[in-house]
Symmetry: C2
Subunit: 480 residues, 2 copies
């Protein structure tokens, strides 16, 4: 193995000093992304893309398990098609990238690079849905989309990003509403079971809902510093698009009806959620189920006879069940320790001459840094248990952070005090008026409604903003 | 199950009557694609996209097995970046889609929707390659690309298509040349082992090589009607791009050198190759390794007691190893037979009351239509063997077709005669001059050089076009 020039693991800014700089350091130094010469667009490097591949594999299996099929729509939307649903075009027009030239000629109709694909799916649904027998249509697509952004941050906000967008059509409102909730639950389970991230879920207010939707549901995980990240959304459209696109079907009672529609999406932003929920001052911490390397094997005193051979043997055993990397380069052991810590590998396995003598090795959790001596006889079971423990440790830690950083405000003064002095979510009552949301955002410099949770606490009778009767308890927070 | 309205399997134009119409009928009626409102762009429907997913899974494993990592580059290329390599921009400029507006403002620099990503990779390589220790870089990306086309056909030629593009950088010319050949071989194996398609491979002439490459290698399967389809290409770039992008590294001898580069790509056009190589007048025939449904189970007399229960039991057993679909709808058995034939399902399994009594079922190959009675005891093994047989039957049939449709021409007259009267490839000697390629294309109305195969026959001493001394034997053919 070639000698590495840079023996020092590069320094990462401390989270407490500057969380934003910490994030930038981590994504760069762990080699998740690189900046490109294209304004607002990122390069996803192998280590970052491998996380996305693991996310895709996991989510795709969840989608298919409930009957969804993948398709691929064109990336261009003729301008007239985007304009068919009024609210939709108003929401997206300001952030479109537009192709005006093709094959050296000015196009007769401008093409929008898809910011989302409701309009394309509707155009197709119109052709393939004739009868109730053609329903439901349960489609999903994995693709890139473009939303022109002024200020960008890798994974969190980029002009181009990768995502999946589900688009479904149903015979009845009830079925479509069920689908909307089902897919929100899929996202919630995915965040908890795969990313080890607990999250509040609920309904978006009118102001915050998706352009063209009747209702938008959201999953709102809290980052380590108390800031919210919209982790995924699921929309119920009613028959608004179906009417705009003139999609009808012959119903069981032989009348012509409009189908009811949903869409739901989750993007590479979820990688930002992983980084900011779990990371620490030593770098990334990756949840085992999506970590490109689950176990970093570091041989100790690897020049001694038999060490590398034994390490390779153990590596081969583990590789049957886990994503394992044996680092037998001639970098120092200390450097390797720091390097794989920085890259967030959930589990380190150390193996030296004395361990081999004792038929054992050492497992070290990236989260607790606890060392465990385990027998080589049952190393597969030990690694499996240790990875499960890392997952649970991450989840519990994130849950504790969220609990500690979720505050209740029963008055305007309390709300403003928390917004000014604490970092986290605020639970507070709200009258239901957009004006109050806007006022609270203005006076706090950015605290917005995250969602109306499915189970609302009754904190008081009045809106914290205007004092009028409260209609809902809302979770509020600053956002990425 | 709902009663199907359309009891008739839709008619497909006979191949011999009109191969082009046959193709259009098959892609539409087997529900592989739909036309979109976007000129030149196709919608890939679930059945078509499932084939692409199987192709991706198979190829991706082959790439990773030889050390490649997946990444994601931006979809936009700043115009100045595309212009850095002269030949490259000349080749691609005529077919670019160009974004001129972003976020409601005219862009200061126009953005090209990627037609291929050499320039973006080079821009990134420049940043991450400093030393020979950073080499090789073995990258691949799965994405959409756009090449503006005037006349389009689903899968074969569309303005947007899906593909993978590998981009690698190497310390030496030798290593890069090896990589170019290695990846061509990966494509050849993939076509043979996964798609059951035999293919000629070889080098492209100067005229036909990729814009900016030193050498282009190609895989050229022959379609059923004798027309060629370029199935994948692998390019050796030398250090041309590296020089244009000023990419250097510190070599082992401490001097600054330019790395040597390759790229290689395979697209959704490969689905067109499957359709046109294997299909027949009854529709698609899908090679088992990429077929979304490998076994269509059709219960016979399904209203009789126990038939559907037994069928479901067998389905559950088979589903552990195969992609199986049990059709228990109330469509007629005859309709089901035709439907799954049309959709190209490689194997049909029939199960009726008498079969159940005999503890057996019937397997029918989509290729030979041969019926085999097999015991239910070892149904998994029987299905496995039958699918392997279908694969081999398809491969042998395609090979036979290719052999029968490959002709040798030793003179200009022979060449023109074959070009005018036969459908297939022509092997003929060539002087090496582009002028002769162009002349042959003109006088034949479209016969072009496909490749110079790795092993050339010596058919004569002179070029079939100009009569000057021959330098190579070339395989010629019309193309999609």
């Amino acid at each position: 193995m070639a000698k590495n020039n840079a023996k020092m693991v590069e320094q990462i800014t401390s989270m407490d000093v500057d969380f934003g700089q910490w994030y930038t350091d981590v994504v760069k130094k762990a080699e998740l992304v690189d900046y490109s010469g294209v304004k607002g667009c990122m390069i996803i490097r192998p280590y970052g893309y491998a996380i996305w591949e693991n996310i895709q594999k996991d989510l795709d299996a969840r989608f298919k398990a409930c009957g969804h099929e993948n398709v691929y729509m064109p990336m261009f939307i003729p301008e007239s098609l985007l304009q068919k649903e009024t609210d939709h075009v108003e929401g997206f027009a300001p952030e479109c990238a537009i192709v005006t030239i093709g094959g050296q000629n000015k196009l007769s109709e401008r093409l929008i690079v898809r910011p989302t694909s409701e309009t394309l799916f509707c155009d197709h649904f119109k052709k393939i849905i004739q009868s109730y027998r053609d329903l439901p249509k349960l489609y999903n697509q994995w693709c890139n989309v473009v939303r022109w952004e002024k200020t960008t941050r890798p994974f969190l906000r980029t002009s181009e990003f990768l995502w999946q967008e589900g688009h479904t059509m149903h015979e009845t409102e009830e079925e479509a509403r069920e689908e909307t909730q089902r897919m929100l639950k899929v996202y919630e389970d995915f965040y908890a079971e795969t990313l080890a991230i607990p999250a509040y879920t609920g309904k978006k207010t009118e102001k915050e809902k998706f352009a063209g939707a009747e209702e938008t549901y959201t999953i709102e995980p809290m980052m380590h510093n108390g800031v919210a990240l919209q982790g995924g959304t699921s929309h119920y459209f009613g028959d608004g698009f179906a009417k705009a696109f003139d999609i009808t079907f012959t119903a069981r009672d032989n009348t012509q009806k409009h189908p009811h529609q949903t869409s739901w999406g989750l993007s590479t932003r979820s990688i930002g959620a992983i980084i900011m929920t779990h990371g620490d001052d030593n770098g990334l911490i990756l949840p085992p189920r999506v970590a490109p390397i689950q176990v970093a094997m570091i041989p100790v005193a690897q020049h001694k006879e038999g060490v590398l051979e034994k390490a390779a043997e153990i590596r081969d055993r583990l590789a049957k069940k886990f994503r394992v990397k044996l680092d037998d380069s001639d970098n120092s052991t200390g450097w390797k320790f720091s390097q794989y810590e920085m890259k967030g590998v959930p589990l380190r396995l150390e193996l030296g001459p004395r361990d081999i003598e004792n038929n054992s090795c050492v497992l070290v959790s990236r989260v607790t840094r606890e060392k465990t001596f385990v027998s080589l006889d049952n190393i597969e079971e030990a690694v499996e248990a240790a990875l499960a423990a890392v997952h649970n440790e991450l989840y519990e830690r994130a849950l504790k952070n969220r609990t500690e950083r979720t505050f209740e405000a029963r008055s305007r003064e309390e709300f403003l005090d928390i917004a000014a002095n604490k970092e986290g979510y605020i639970k507070a009552m709200w009258c239901g008026e957009t004006a109050c949301e806007e006022e609270l955002k203005d006076v706090t410099g950015g605290v917005k409604s995250r969602c109306i949770p499915f189970v609302e606490d009754h904190l008081s009778d009045t809106c914290v903003c205007c004092g009028k009767p409260a209609r809902h308890m809302v979770i509020w927070g600053r956002q990425y």
